[in-house]
């Protein structure tokens, strides 16, 4: 009963014309920022922060949150169309999304991304509304050993991301882990693999690597085959530009999987949306009836990670609003905004400012509907980009890549690094090494190493800490099971062969 009253309170706040307007401004800006690679929601919110001093606080937080979750919608656009991941959480979307675009199914891919985002985004908000406090308390049980187990579980996803050869997948992952090690060591403040370069002290930005390896390498590979270039097929007619009923039916499980995994990972302050998207892609492939087709343009391969990275925003707001603990860069800035306005963000925020909290939550329902309405009509429009001839498209991709990378930290050094990783990506393509495990290793390497060292500091160097705590033990078991599964299959197929030979 109480929650219905709260919800009504929320809607009475969120549906005032002023707040509706700011919600729209937020989600619109978010969509734009999401589409532009490099410029992320965190930077945008920070830059708009001064403008909000003069605004009503509820309207301001509604707008800023709109930028945050809105950016997740747009993130998939360049991944699908151009193989340029707009943000780290959209890297996995490239795998099947770009293949779909190559097969002339860019429209359905973009469409399903928007729909999955809507479904999962809404589920995330429902989660935030209904189960925030208990979930937040549960998330506190995650200490360093649990994070280590989670990252290890994430790394086993390489089993699902490696192409034909597992060895090559693992090698690529190791390179990724090494790249994650570049920079200043958090625990000793010593610099590692920086070669005296000041620019490397903070490590290599993930965006630089992923855009280089995906987008620049793609351009290089295509430039090579200049003779026989064929344009992408872009079928005409609105029907071919939208996901079909069958597509939606295929994605039933992906919607659910993305929503749940995204929300749960989002609640953990030390995890992040990239891990959420990788994990839900892995889960989708693991339980699929045709796992071998993933990576060739399967629609679930787009729906699951896109869903996960949207419900993650609902999850990430849980620790922020119920405990006053920011779980990601973007939420850390929202926290700073609340402090700047003189609101005390903390465990008592909901109690002290019910109008603000419930107004925000309900505005997120409204915002998600707005985003769907805003994004679906854009699908046919964006799909047309692929009609552009190659001699315009590829320089365009390069341009977007360079601008995106430069905007990360306004440094030309990063642009040179982009070129380097572009060449690496090209070499990997030529030698048939998969790119996704490298990126995965790089995303998780940082957290994995950190969590391991934190765990060992806590236990005075005893590794047993990783398996004596029930949560981390459980996750490590799952990870081991995933690693062993392909071996079992191999043995089984070998035995089947042996039996056949006997007969």
């Amino acid at each position: 009963m109480e929650s219905i009253g709260n919800l009504l309170l929320g809607f009475s706040v969120a549906l005032t014309p002023g707040n509706l307007f700011w919600c729209f401004v937020g989600v619109f800006l978010g969509t734009v920022v999401g589409i532009l690679p490099g410029l992320g929601p965190a930077a945008t919110i920070a830059m708009l922060l001064p403008l909000t001093f003069k605004m009503d606080h509820t309207a301001a937080i509604i707008m800023l949150a709109g930028i945050y979750y809105g950016s997740k919608y747009g993130g998939s656009t360049t991944s699908i169309l151009l193989n340029v991941p707009g943000e780290s959480a959209s890297v996995v979307t490239c795998l099947d999304g770009y293949q779909m675009a190559r097969q002339g199914r860019a429209g359905p891919a973009l469409g399903i991304a928007a729909i999955a985002s809507f479904v999962a985004g809404t589920v995330g908000v429902i989660g935030l509304m209904l189960i925030a406090p208990p979930v937040a308390r549960f998330a506190l049980r995650f200490g360093p050993p649990e994070y280590f187990a989670l990252m290890a579980l994430g790394l086993t996803m390489v089993v699902f991301l490696a192409g034909k050869s597992m060895i090559k997948g693992l090698l690529a992952m190791l390179v990724g882990l090494w790249l994650a090690g570049v920079g200043t060591d958090l625990f000793t403040a010593e610099s590692r693999f920086t070669f005296g370069q000041m620019e490397l002290l903070d490590g290599i930005d993930f965006v630089v690597v992923s855009i280089g390896i995906f987008a620049v390498a793609e351009v290089l590979v295509n430039m090579e085959s200049r003779g026989g270039t064929e344009l992408f097929k872009v079928p005409r007619g609105i029907r071919n530009l939208m996901p079909t009923l069958k597509d939606l039916k295929d994605c039933r499980f992906a919607f659910l999987n993305g929503s749940v995994i995204g929300f749960l990972i989002g609640v953990l302050p030390g995890a992040g949306s990239t891990i959420a998207s990788f994990l839900s892609y892995g889960a989708e492939k693991a339980f699929s009836r045709y796992p071998e087709k993933f990576g060739t343009g399967v629609i679930e391969g787009v729906a699951a990670p896109e869903g996960a990275n949207n419900s993650e925003t609902g999850g990430a707001l849980v620790p922020l609003l119920t405990l006053g603990i920011p779980g990601s860069n973007a939420t850390a800035i929202l926290l700073a905004a609340l402090i700047l306005w003189g609101i005390k963000p903390g465990p008592l925020l909901i109690q002290d400012n019910p109008g603000l909290f419930w107004g925000l939550v309900t505005s997120m329902y409204v915002g998600n509907v707005m985003l769907l309405v805003l994004n679906l009509p854009l699908v046919p429009l964006f799909a047309q980009i692929l009609r552009v001839p190659y001699f315009v498209l590829y320089p365009g991709i390069l341009g977007i890549s360079i601008v995106g990378v430069y905007s990360v930290s306004n440094s030309l050094f990063d642009v040179w690094m982009l070129g380097l990783f572009g060449l690496l990506g090209y070499a990997m393509r030529k030698l048939d090494f998969p790119a996704a495990p490298l990126v995965l290793g790089m995303v998780l390497g940082d957290g994995l190493e950190r969590a391991l060292r934190q765990s060992l500091m806590m236990s005075e160097g005893r590794l047993s800490v990783l398996i004596t705590r029930p949560l981390s033990a459980a996750m490590i078991c799952v990870a081991l099971a995933i690693l062993i599964m392909p071996l079992v299959n191999k043995v089984r197929s070998f035995r089947v062969k042996a039996v056949e030979q006997d007969v």
């Binding site: 965190a42 930077a43 945008t44 919110i45 920070a46 830059m47 922060l49 001064p50 001093f53 998330a139 506190l140 049980r141 995650f142 200490g143 360093p144 200043t184 958090l186 625990f187 000793t188 403040a189 010593e190 610099s191 920086t194 005296g196 370069q197 000041m198 620019e199 002290l201 903070d202 302050p269 030390g270 620790p319 405990l323 006053g324 603990i325 920011p326 779980g327 860069n329 973007a330 939420t331 850390a332 800035i333 700073a336 402090i339 700047l340 003189g342 005390k344 963000p345 903390g346 465990p347 008592l348 930290s409 306004n410 440094s411 950190r450 934190q454 500091m457 806590m458 005075e460």
Partner: protein, 328 residues
């Protein structure tokens, strides 16, 4: 045409007036284009938000005619921002926002070649106080309890914090040295994780800003057992300082302020000192300081130079004793 004449008249009368007041402004500097305000964090980092808030407050108070344009030069701790300022030698339209990292980072990082002594100090604005906190249901009610427990079981208690060269760890190091107690420092990159690990019971203590601690205390999740300042904090009148609890250690300050590139003319320094003199007295700024529970740390001129020198010496010593590799 008419307006510019008016302006000229105003300016000249200003000269005459200030001359009459006995303060000689030979050729007063006035910025002619937006000011670049360099910070060492990305958008949303502590320094970035501080700088943006100041830019906004200055406009609100109409203290400065030109905009302060925040420029993020993140990377290498503070190395990228500092070397950027060093390259802008003599530039009159650039300032930088320093914090304690600007002192400790060059001390421990070979690649960070610019030190704070290379730059032109202008003002120190605030000192950020900190408190030592434990979980609300923790058995440690005073700093003494905590230290006794850490002595009885060396390296069993844990403290969450950020980088090993940050204030959290330096506080631990000086207290350990003064008392002989030993406990473990576990680094977490984000502030959120530090709090989450305390509330989740994975670590026993942390150093936290009073503003942040206040809310967790109100919710009954946290307890503050010592103020890491010279005097008790107004927001925690019942929490004694370390010294009051018999732990005689130097206070490790966390300062924020403004400096300029090397080699800027004296008039520019005077201009900024004048601006910040007025700004520090403004109502909006005072309210901002109070909201964030900062300590007013206004300091300029020779006092600021001495602060930098003393702090550099103190930090070098603390870091060396902690076994960190000190390179300068």
């Amino acid at each position: 045409m008419k307006r510019s004449w008016c302006c000229l008249l105003l300016i000249t009368s200003g000269f005459v007036l200030s001359g009459a007041g006995g303060i000689a402004h030979a050729a007063a500097f006035e910025p002619t284009k937006p000011i670049e305000a360099v910070v060492h964090t990305g958008p949303g980092g502590g320094s970035d938000i501080f700088a943006r808030a100041i830019a906004e407050l200055m406009q609100k108070e109409k203290i400065i005619a030109q905009r302060l344009q925040v420029v993020n030069k993140s990377g290498g701790g503070s190395a990228v921002a500092m070397s950027y300022l060093a390259e802008k030698k003599g530039d009159t339209h650039t300032i930088g926002f320093f914090t304690g990292v600007w002192i400790t980072n060059p001390l421990t990082t070979m690649e960070a070649k610019t030190t704070i002594a290379d730059l032109t100090p202008i003002v120190r604005l605030v000192l950020e106080p900190a408190v030592f906190a434990v979980k609300a249901d923790s058995p440690y009610k005073t700093m003494k309890d905590f230290i006794e427990a850490a002595k009885k079981n060396p390296n069993q208690l844990k403290q969450s914090g950020g980088s090993v060269t940050g204030r959290d760890n330096l506080v631990r190091l000086v207290v350990q040295k003064a008392t002989g107690a030993k406990w473990v420092f576990v680094s977490f990159p984000s502030g959120g994780e530090r709090i989450a690990n305390l509330l989740g019971g994975h670590v026993e203590a942390m150093v936290i800003e009073p503003q942040e601690a206040g809310e967790h205390i109100r919710a009954g999740n946290m307890r503050v057992i010592a103020a890491l300042t010279d005097k008790r904090l107004p927001s925690f009148p019942n929490v004694p300082t370390l010294k009051e609890q018999g732990v005689n250690v130097p206070v490790i300050p966390q300062a924020r302020g403004i400096l300029a590139p090397p080699g800027v003319p004296k008039e520019v320094v005077q201009y900024w000192e004048g601006i910040f003199d007025r700004f520090a007295k403004s109502a909006n700024w005072k309210q901002y300081v109070e909201h964030n529970q900062f300590e007013d740390g206004y300091l300029k001129g020779p006092g600021l130079n001495k602060f930098f020198d003393d702090l550099t010496v103190q930090m070098r010593e603390v870091l060396k004793e902690a076994g960190a590799k000190v390179v300068r």
